[in-house]
């Protein structure tokens, strides 16, 4: 049992996937010799060769569309979008084809591919490098949308994503790349489609995914010091969404706050609140609230601390639902 960062865990998941299944390919910008700008693919080209791990021209629509084509030649491509906002040129291929091909082809032609997207803020990056576009994907029927929050689960989820028969959009919380977790790397964690209760509690439920999970854990700890017993739910999988675990938790606590980095309006937090409304209404002691990024373009690095949900804002919201 050693400490491992999320970046290392992801790298290992890719390595083990390449080693375990000779139909797996890795492609993207700068993922070869460079090993990716975050080094997630470090060493993979050297180990598996340029046929299995290769750089593409600088064209995200092409990376997506070519990946789809590769699946139809029997491959399982894992492609990388270099940063969140650079996945947008690929949206048409994702929405119009990758998400729809199984449906369109009456189930004959699934799309077993993974699109990895490093996402989110908090790393002091330039414009277009800190966005949280998960809603665009979660609203696109036919895609699975997965977001790990810790190193070990990142390994587990990525290996499972590569094995999944359907297209998985795999969001990697950049600001957690270097966060460590102790344990063995194994794809033995919860499958895609299950949420995890990371901390049990009785008074309120905090719901998050990606980088906001650790922030919620921090908030829960702070609240605990004031005697408030907060449950923390890591959704992990936005699509399929684990309504059962979500409803069970909120029905128990009667109070919920969902936290995400993306802007509030039509963010995935709204979906979580809507599900709580539908499935937990009679158990609610207070309105389920959202703590999110604001409805603005992602701000410049030196101001991002004001934009991102922080422990204070989460505690304020907890206070609001607890005192309602």
């Amino acid at each position: 049992m050693a400490d491992v960062t999320m970046a290392q865990a992801l790298n290992r998941a890719l390595r083990d996937s390449l080693a375990g299944d000779d139909r797996v390919l890795i492609l993207g910008e700068d993922i070869g010799k460079l090993g990716g700008v975050f080094r997630i693919t470090d060493g993979l080209q050297a180990e598996f060769g340029e046929q299995r791990v290769f750089d593409t021209p600088l064209a995200e629509a092409a990376i997506a569309g070519v990946s789809l084509g590769l699946t139809q030649a029997g491959w399982k491509p894992v492609c990388e979008m270099q940063f969140d906002a650079f996945s947008y040129p690929a949206l048409d291929q994702v929405i119009s084809h990758i998400a729809k091909y199984r449906y369109r082809s009456k189930g004959t032609t699934g799309v077993p591919m993974v699109m990895r997207i490093p996402f989110g803020g908090g790393i002091g990056a330039a414009e277009h490098h800190s966005e949280s576009p998960e809603t665009y994907y979660a609203h696109t029927s036919g895609l699975k949308v997965v977001v790990p929050s810790s190193a070990l689960d990142a390994y587990n989820l990525l290996v499972r994503s590569v094995q999944d028969p359907d297209p998985v959009i795999f969001f990697e919380p950049k600001s957690r790349y270097w966060a460590k977790e102790s344990g063995d790397l194994a794809a033995e964690g919860a499958p895609i489609g299950q949420a995890r209760v990371l901390k049990e509690g009785q008074h309120a439920t905090l719901i998050a995914w990606g980088a906001m999970v650790s922030r919620c854990l921090d908030a829960a700890e702070a609240a605990g010091e004031d005697g408030v017993d907060v449950e923390v739910l890591d959704l992990r999988s936005l699509v399929p969404l684990d309504i059962e675990t979500l409803a069970a938790s909120v029905q128990k606590t009667g109070r919920a706050v969902v936290v995400h980095e993306a802007p509030m309006t039509a963010g995935f937090g709204a979906e979580v609140v809507a599900r709580i409304m539908e499935d937990c209404f009679d158990h609610l002691e207070a309105p389920a609230l959202r703590v999110t990024g604001y409805d603005m373009p992602y701000p410049p690095a030196t101001l991002e601390e004001h934009y991102l949900p922080n422990v204070d804002r989460i505690l304020l919201a907890l206070d609001a639902v607890l005192t309602h």
Partner: protein, 355 residues
């Protein structure tokens, strides 16, 4: 058309004998080409009629483009793969697809065109213009990685050449040496937008920028189309080099049965091209060369009528699919949210049925 356009058959059916001898086509093949073109024309006209009669929702006629479609498809090997747009009825016929299933797209009973794109070697209809060449490039790259002896061809229109995706597909194919043929049917129109408003360049010369050959061919000359495609297919197979082919032809019909082409072009525009009809041209050649006679022509016609009748019989009154099918193929396994939604739909449908 400028000098650089490859042509074997003159509009009056005369042929450059040397060119012709250079073709690896037996008389039998020539008759087969003719046959496919006639089949395509018949099915195409029938489907336009079926749409007028309300049996199809909409149909995009391919009339006039038969030489481009049949000539190119005939140059493919059996296991080669096609990524079409939505107007490739001729390609589909000569690839042996089930044309009733094919037309169900146009009836709106399901998306896509055929059941199993990979199995049939014919990708699903691609409606978003210009999006399918990327799939073709990916497929071609995939077969090359496997060392398979497979060539991929992708069809798209003059309008599609304006799309970024088409550029990206060609560029990537060039870089990876993907065994693919980019087959552009320049039919002079993208709905109402004429070629000269689509690009100020020559389509086939766009290949220069990708480092592979670009060829312009008379798209109404089935022999020339066959020849340039054959060469391109061989180049892809043997040398892993892509080719861009611009087949210059004309959209004789409206963009689709929903379109009113009189709003943007004159009868004269169309008539000039009707003179260049690819089937009649080829027929004259076959007759003059003594390769086929009236009986062959009549037989092809009859077969065309038969196929058209089959399509009509298959499509006429074809029912919508089961409501359950709505939920069958979204994911390999239906997640809980969708189970709830399916149950609602089925309950409602049942209530409807019961009264």
């Amino acid at each position: 058309m400028a000098d650089e356009t490859v042509r074997i058959l003159a509009p009056d059916g005369r042929v450059d004998e040397e060119d012709r001898r250079g073709l690896d086509l037996k008389d039998e093949d020539l008759r087969q080409l003719f046959r496919y073109m006639v089949l395509a024309r018949n099915v195409d006209l029938e489907c336009t009629a079926l749409q007028r009669q309300g049996e199809l929702a909409v149909y995009p006629p391919a009339i006039g483009q038969e030489a481009a479609q049949i000539g190119s498809a005939y140059a493919l090997g059996e296991r080669d793969m096609v990524y079409p747009s939505y107007r490739e009825v001729g390609v589909a016929i000569s690839r042996g697809l089930d044309m009733v299933e094919y037309m169900k797209f146009h009836r709106g009973t399901w998306h896509g065109g055929v059941n199993d794109p990979v199995g049939s070697g014919f990708g699903m209809f691609s409606v978003p213009v210009g999006s399918q060449p990327l799939h073709g490039t990916g497929h071609a790259l995939g077969t090359k990685l496997d060392g398979k002896d497979v060539v991929t061809i992708t069809y798209f229109g003059d309008g599609a050449t304006s799309q970024g995706d088409v550029h990206e597909a060609m560029n990537v194919a060039g870089v990876f040496g993907a065994p693919i043929v980019f087959f552009c049917q320049n039919n002079h129109w993208a709905i109402s937008v004429p070629l000269e408003k689509q690009t100020a360049g020559q389509i086939y010369r766009k290949a220069e920028g990708y480092g592979f050959p670009g060829v312009r061919v008379d798209g109404n000359d089935v022999l020339a189309v066959y020849r340039v495609t054959r060469e391109a297919v061989e180049r892809a197979r043997a040398e892993h080099q892509p080719t861009l082919i611009e087949a210059v032809t004309y959209r004789i019909g409206p963009h689709s049965t929903a379109d009113d082409a009189t709003r943007y072009r004159t009868k004269e525009d169309v008539e000039a091209w009707q003179q260049l009809d690819p089937i009649e041209r080829f027929r004259m050649f076959l007759e003059t060369a003594g390769i086929a006679d009236q009986s062959v022509f009549l037989e092809a016609e009859a077969e065309g009528k038969d196929l058209a009748a089959t399509v009509r019989a298959g499509i006429q009154g074809a029912p919508p699919r089961d409501v359950e099918d709505l939920f069958r193929w979204i994911f390999a396994e239906l997640p809980p949210v969708l189970v709830r939604q399916r149950d609602e739909v089925l309950r409602l449908a049942e209530e409807d049925r019961d009264g």
